[in-house]
């Protein structure tokens, strides 16, 4: 859910349900590293509600698009982490097998 104004799309608060620090803190990280963002932060209004508010203010672009780009960035980072990790595990297993063969 987005809270903002139609006149000025560069500032908005996004209210995400069923999310917590896990996503919000990672998003804050990618948002803050975007040069279009002038301010960004998040809050969890009440610990009993599964809800997090993310505030995004930009230099002019629509906040919604900037947040979307940040999500995209985060997703690409995750994909890269996953492929790198899988490769590292595979390499480790191969190396272990090789050592086992050599010992025999």
């Amino acid at each position: 859910m987005e809270h903002g104004s139609y006149q000025d799309q560069s500032k908005a608060t996004f209210s995400l349900t069923d999310e917590d620090h896990t996503l919000a803190n990672s998003l804050r990280f990618t948002l803050n590293q975007d040069p279009r963002v002038t301010f960004c932060g998040y809050s969890i209004p009440h610990p009993s509600d599964a809800r997090v508010n993310i505030r995004v203010q930009t230099t002019g672009d629509a906040a919604r698009e900037v947040l979307k780009d940040s999500c995209q960035d985060l997703m690409l980072m995750c994909q890269h982490v996953r492929s790198t990790f899988d490769q590292a595990v595979l390499d480790f297993k191969n190396q272990k097998n090789l050592e086992a063969v050599n010992i025999k």
């Binding site: 896990t22 279009r36 002019g60 999500c71 995209q72 995750c78 990790f85 595990v89 480790f92």
Partner: protein, 395 residues
């Protein structure tokens, strides 16, 4: 006016993930030849990349995330995927059946922490949720017994099952049923009930539902607490690999002579944030790589003193000839940052303790449902799914 103009210039050439999609290749401003690509002064670089552990307290613990934090220095702090791809490294240190230790290098703490949080609280597993107790004459109360059963790790891939909601009828896709019937004979010694006595029932519950007119139903098949349309052991995943608790020797209860427990346990899919019994990891944690630096040479008696000061033997003594001794940092990775080595008057002048901010030593201990390396990839996938959900909701 000038400032807004310069802003639009930055915007139009900003290269996010959509950069590749653009028809004409645009050159990002920071790749133009006249943009200064200065390096940060060394003290700022140290603050940016290291946590410094002083005698009293650590300093520079925060991560500098803002893209323009070093704009005045001509250093760009914004996120670039190419750099991330270039710098990320994963090195597996140890991999066994149920734990993994690996180094995750070149990643921000917010992401490392997201992975850790997902591993603990948002990866699903199967755990016993409902216990139907037919008979329990042991000294352990029904509710305590049910709680103990819930905490037993089950060796079954949760990806083969679905979540059950409150109004669902338990079926073969969302429930696993176990039977436990243990009795201690009179006149014999006391007996111990262990987790290997939980017997898997691939056809579902054997307890009959109480109906009002049971006489009329005698001909048809009696209803039980579950309604399985097929047997679970006919599935290829389970035919050679029956579902059972991960460990056979977990003590469930102790029975005295004449005591008996008869029950059925129904396991369902759930997540660690509902109850810790669904957490797939015993624990998952990371620590930042410790860095121990000798700021000046430590020789002779002082070297001996330094080696003895450290309780985890980070330092070694090397011979420098003519009976001279010099301390060196041999095992920085085992440093626990207890700060024992910088205690005392002038030791901070000799030793610097730091932590590398983007180097995480990750350890994942699996409880047995899935291998630890699979757990981590699943956790990363969940974060991807979360991002995707936000993107679809925004567009």
């Amino acid at each position: 006016m000038t400032s807004s103009e310069s802003n639009t210039e930055v915007d139009s050439s900003w290269s996010g993930s959509e950069y590749e999609k653009e028809r004409t290749p645009k050159i990002p401003v920071w790749d133009l030849p006249d943009v200064p690509k200065g390096n940060l002064p060394s003290h700022l670089q140290l603050q940016r990349t290291r946590v410094v552990c002083n005698k009293e307290a650590p300093t520079h613990t925060e991560n500098i995330q803002y893209s323009g934090a070093y704009a005045a220095m001509g250093v760009d702090n914004s996120f670039r995927l190419d750099d991330f791809r270039k710098n990320l490294r994963v090195e597996v240190v140890r991999l066994t059946e149920d734990d993994i230790e690996f180094d995750l290098i070149g990643i921000d703490a917010s992401l490392a922490n997201a992975f850790r949080r997902i591993l603990i609280a948002e990866l699903p597993t199967m755990a016993i949720e409902k216990v139907l107790i037919a008979n329990n004459t042991s000294v352990i109360q029904d509710e305590v017994l049910a709680h103990r059963l819930g905490l037993i790790p089950l060796q079954v891939d949760p990806r083969l099952f679905e979540y059950i909601s409150e109004n669902d009828i338990p079926n073969e896709k969302n429930t696993i049923v176990f039977k436990l019937h243990a009795r201690c004979e009179k006149g014999g010694p006391r007996s111990t009930v262990k987790s290997d006595e939980l017997k898997w029932l691939p056809n579902g519950s054997e307890f009959l539902l109480a109906t009002e007119n049971s006489a009329s139903n005698t001909a048809s098949k009696q209803k039980t607490y579950t309604s399985f349309s097929s047997s679970q052991d006919s599935l290829p995943e389970f035919s050679n690999n029956p579902i059972a608790p991960k460990y056979p020797d977990i003590i469930i209860a102790k029975l005295g002579p004449g005591q008996e427990i008869e029950l059925e346990a129904h396991a369902v899919k759930g997540m660690g944030k509902t109850h810790a019994k669904w957490s797939p990891v015993a624990t998952a944690w990371y620590r930042m790589l410790p860095e121990v630096v000798l700021l000046q040479e430590v020789k002779g008696v002082k070297a001996e003193e330094l080696v003895n000061k450290c309780p985890v033997k980070v330092f070694d003594i090397e011979d420098i000839g003519k009976g001279g001794k010099r301390a060196n940092v041999a095992r920085p990775r085992s440093c626990t940052l207890c700060r024992e080595c910088i205690r005392g008057d002038e030791w901070e002048k000799f030793v610097a303790l730091r932590r590398v901010k983007d180097h995480f030593i990750f350890t994942v201990e699996s409880t047995g449902a899935l291998p630890p390396e699979v757990l981590f990839t699943e956790a990363v996938k969940i974060l991807e799914d979360k991002c995707e959900r936000v993107i679809t909701e925004l567009s």
